[in-house]
Symmetry: C2
Subunit: 207 residues, 2 copies
């Protein structure tokens, strides 16, 4: 007794998705078997439609289905303030928090030479070019007028990415900053790890 | 700044899948954005192909892409021994364990009147009909020749399902049995819950 081939194929495809795994793929496949045909069609269609329409913004690599993404086409936003994030959903989080009125650069990953992810995979050439020339008008720009805020994760990989960005961007004379280390809102000290606590102490500010 | 519509639609579709949720759906969507078009195509195709080809076996409700499933079409297997399972992957697990040479009935879920899952949704009418008449030859059968082994989960819902099956099947005069309760292989007593331990004591056997 073995599964039908089309089921094996479906489970194989599903198990290649991140965070799914063989057991999850089985569960998903049996779920698809049980729900109505229309629902399966609309899932498959959403996948192919999104894949066909969505592309990286040519300026900042944010996901978009327009010529240029919604942030880059908003001329109210400060063009000299660029926040570097790992993923488009970091943009959503930052926009929800509000207060940041600059633009973005999305790396779609973290610096990891061991996994073959070097500066080019993070689109840093595009970021560096943006500091020197206006993509749309071709006007030459002074990199030292820019501030690049690195908002990658506070993890080893995120830090490596931040230090790579810092290295390359500051070489052009632009200012590079990093999000503040410290205690998150609502944090109980006893549950904080020592690295976070140490950094919160080092970054303490007079009140 | 908001996501493009096709991305919102994709995330909505993905988040309806079991065990995915809104965050997982986002991660999946960004993954699909990053991988090659061919890979996305073959995923979408695997979904629609499987959905088109796969159907429940008319006899036992196991998933199949043939007229009758691989187990039901195997005439070597004992037709008077039927194991009731919740899902087709339980069949795979039992077949891997080996030793069971009967057939199956798949309920595709557990008895849960509160969620609208009654005996008809579990296909019990089909199971009861099988005990009385050969589906293919039309020959009248004697239900008391059958043994139905209930292999639903050892959970509240699995037990409720087992008791429903027992009630309906034994009314026809067939024998109903349940998988043994006890300690799993490799179990350390100190980590076993008291219900399991209690059942293992009650079911103790002379050696």
């Amino acid at each position: 007794m073995k599964y039908p081939n089309s089921l094996i194929q479906l489970i194989r495809e599903l198990s290649r998705l991140p965070g799914v795994g063989p057991k999850g793929a089985q569960r998903l496949a049996f779920h698809l078997f049980k729900i109505p045909h229309e629902d399966v069609e609309s899932l498959a269609e959403a996948i192919t439609t999104a894949k066909a329409l969505l592309k990286p913004c040519p300026i900042c690599s944010n996901i978009t289905d327009e010529e240029v993404c919604a942030v880059c086409s908003d001329l109210e936003r400060d063009p000299y303030l660029i926040c570097v994030v790992e993923s488009p959903n970091d943009i959503i989080a930052i926009e929800k928090a509000g207060g940041f009125m600059g633009r973005y650069h999305v790396t779609h990953g973290v610096y990891s030479p061991m996994d073959g992810v070097g500066p080019e995979r993070l689109g840093l050439d595009k970021l560096l070019a943006r500091l020197q020339r206006d993509v749309r008008t071709g006007e030459v720009l002074d990199p030292s007028r820019f501030e690049v805020v690195v908002a990658t994760s506070m993890t080893t990989e995120g830090e490596a990415t931040a230090s790579l960005v810092h290295h390359q961007v500051s070489a052009l004379g632009a200012t590079v900053s990093r999000l503040a280390y410290g205690l998150p809102n609502g944090a109980a000290l006893e549950y904080m790890d020592e690295v976070t606590l140490g950094r919160a102490f080092n970054g303490r500010q007079r009140i």
